[in-house]
Amino acid sequence: MAYSSGRMLLSQSDGPVSRFRAWVFIVVPLLAILFQVYVPLFFPVLSFLEMPLLVVVYLSLTQRSQVGGLFTGALIGLAQDSLSKNPLGMFGICKTLVGYFAASVGVHFNVDNTVIRLFLSFLFYFFHQTLYWVMQRMLLAQQPPFDYQSWLLFGALNAVVGVFLFHFLDKLRAAA
């Protein structure tokens, strides 16, 4: 890594900003969406994985730009909505907020730390699921169950997968 992983808290001016090649912002979200679409068809066990969300969290945390994070989340969320049966905007709104808050966190914390990544992945997954549940009730007039136990479990699994995913994506940085 090009910067110290020992600093847990840093300002935007102090910390280095990760730079990715342009194709990374296209290919990685696209692959994540394709994974989310096709993998559960063949491996239903992996349906708990929220790969687009993990990608949004990673890109937003490493970009440290709130505007970039919210646009990243909005685009990935709308793309995910386009391939789902949900109305356009459901995942878009949720991931927009996740990207914005993830970028806000990345500004103040050293997100290269594994523990922080694990915690943030878990936290944003739970936040994403909760927000989606609220929007289902408020906007779609649906009555989905508030299955927080499953969310906690899947959030933990996604956090573990996210740690490895983030580690893989770190290798795609421009500095590398």
């Binding site: 709130q66 505007v67 919210l70 909005a74 356009l88 905007g89 709104i93 927009t96 907020l97 906007l139």
Partner: protein, 401 residues
């Protein structure tokens, strides 16, 4: 504004992006009534503003109409007030017309019921003097009114004509101090002279203190004054007090109790009988008495009214005695007949029997609220009784005129 946007640029962009996606959602999603949420939101967002705008518009228009353009409302109020005033006057006029029509109808009925010829007149004025009980009526000498004629109403006597002008007549009311008339009690036992006192009550003068007069007793015109025909009601006794040398009897004038608007001037008087009993307001059916089978029917008395009371029997005896002596009752041409033998033979003399009296329901008699007697000539029983008392030397109710 620009600095605010720059300071919160990220947050602003976030809100815009979220808002845009909300709009996107609202365009797609429909509610349970199959209405798109974007339409629901739009209506919900616009309606309060429209309501406020309409409230402001309505309030402004109402304020303008109710507080600015008050000139028309004031004119309308004035017009309505004038209309209400006219309607009130019209209502009063119609009520007066109705009362007049009712009075005219009552006078017409009364005119047709009494034998005297009368002339209807309306009071058009009162006397100028404060103490003079005088009124003017709209009938004068051109319609046949003459000085000295009696003036009555269905309730009783009113006064007499003291001056007849071509188009009006002056009437002296019975309450005037100069008024006087002959009266007789209802039972015919008490005669007196009616005098006005200048007060609402009338006075019957020259009644000896030994005469029995009761409160509530009716007095009628006696006809002795040659002004009022006999039988018109005068009034009811209000109070009786013994004084020297005569009783002091005060009457409530019957003809002046309910105001004075329409009167009848008696142009040609005919004497009438005084009703034997006061006429009640409500007619009462009186069943006929049971037939007296112990007394045989007398052919001589057939067709005559059956004697019912001892007074009737006594009256018939006196009448028969007078006719036997050739006396003509009521003419005054000859002296009184000799009734000296009647009193001693009365207990032994059987009363003339008659057939069973017919049923005469009182309801068949024309109802009259006033104590006016019904038309019909019968024998003057009260005079006969009085004269018989005089012949026997008993205290009578005869009065001096």
């Amino acid at each position: 504004m620009e600095s605010f946007v720059n300071r919160y640029r990220n947050l602003t962009i976030l809100l815009l992006v979220i808002f845009a996606q909300f709009l996107l959602l609202a365009v797609q999603v429909k509610n349970d009534q199959d209405v798109r949420i974007i339409r629901v939101w739009t209506v919900t967002a616009v309606t309060p503003f429209a309501r406020v705008v309409e409230l402001l518009r309505g309030g402004s228009v109402g304020f303008f109409r109710n507080y600015i353009l008050l000139r028309d409302e004031d004119a309308e109020n004035r017009r309505l007030r004038d209309q209400v005033g006219h309607l009130k006057l019209e209502n009063i006029f119609l009520k007066n017309e109705l009362n007049t029509a009712e009075r005219a109808k009552a006078l017409g009925v009364f005119q047709a019921r009494i034998p005297s010829k009368t002339l209807a007149a309306t009071v058009i004025g009162a006397g100028a003097g404060s103490n003079a009980k005088v009124v003017y009526v709209d009938a004068g000498s051109t319609r046949g009114v003459e000085r000295g004629m009696a003036v009555v109403t269905p309730d009783g006597i009113v006064g007499k004509v003291i001056a007849a002008y071509p188009t009006a007549s002056e009437i002296l009311l019975a309450t005037d101090a100069d008024f006087a008339a002959g009266v007789v009690s209802q039972d015919g036992a008490v005669r007196g002279t009616l005098k006005g006192q200048g007060t609402p009550l009338l006075k019957v003068d020259y009644v000896p203190i030994q005469e029995k007069v009761q409160v509530g007793q009716w007095f009628y015109t006696s006809g002795d004054d040659r002004i009022f025909p006999r039988g018109f009601p005068v009034g009811v006794v209000r109070s009786v007090r013994d004084a020297q040398p005569f009783k002091e009897i005060l009457l409530d004038p019957a003809g002046l109790q309910h105001g004075l608007e329409d009167v009848l001037i008696v142009t040609q008087g005919v004497h009438q009988d005084i009703p034997p009993t006061p006429v009640a307001d409500q007619p009462v059916y009186i069943a006929p008495p049971p037939p007296d089978e112990s007394k045989p029917a007398s052919p001589a008395a057939a067709g005559a009214p059956p004697p019912i009371t001892e007074a009737d029997k006594l009256r018939l005896e006196y009448q028969a005695a007078g006719e036997a002596q050739g006396h003509k009752f009521g003419s005054g041409e000859s002296g009184p007949p000799n009734f000296s033998g009647i009193g001693t033979t009365l207990p032994q003399k059987p009363a003339p029997a008659a057939a069973a009296p017919p049923a005469v329901p009182a309801a068949a008699v024309p109802a009259a609220a006033s104590p006016m007697p019904a038309t019909g000539a019968t024998t003057k029983t009260t005079d006969v009784t009085r004269h018989s008392n005089q012949a026997n030397g008993e205290p009578t109710g005869s009065t001096k005129r």
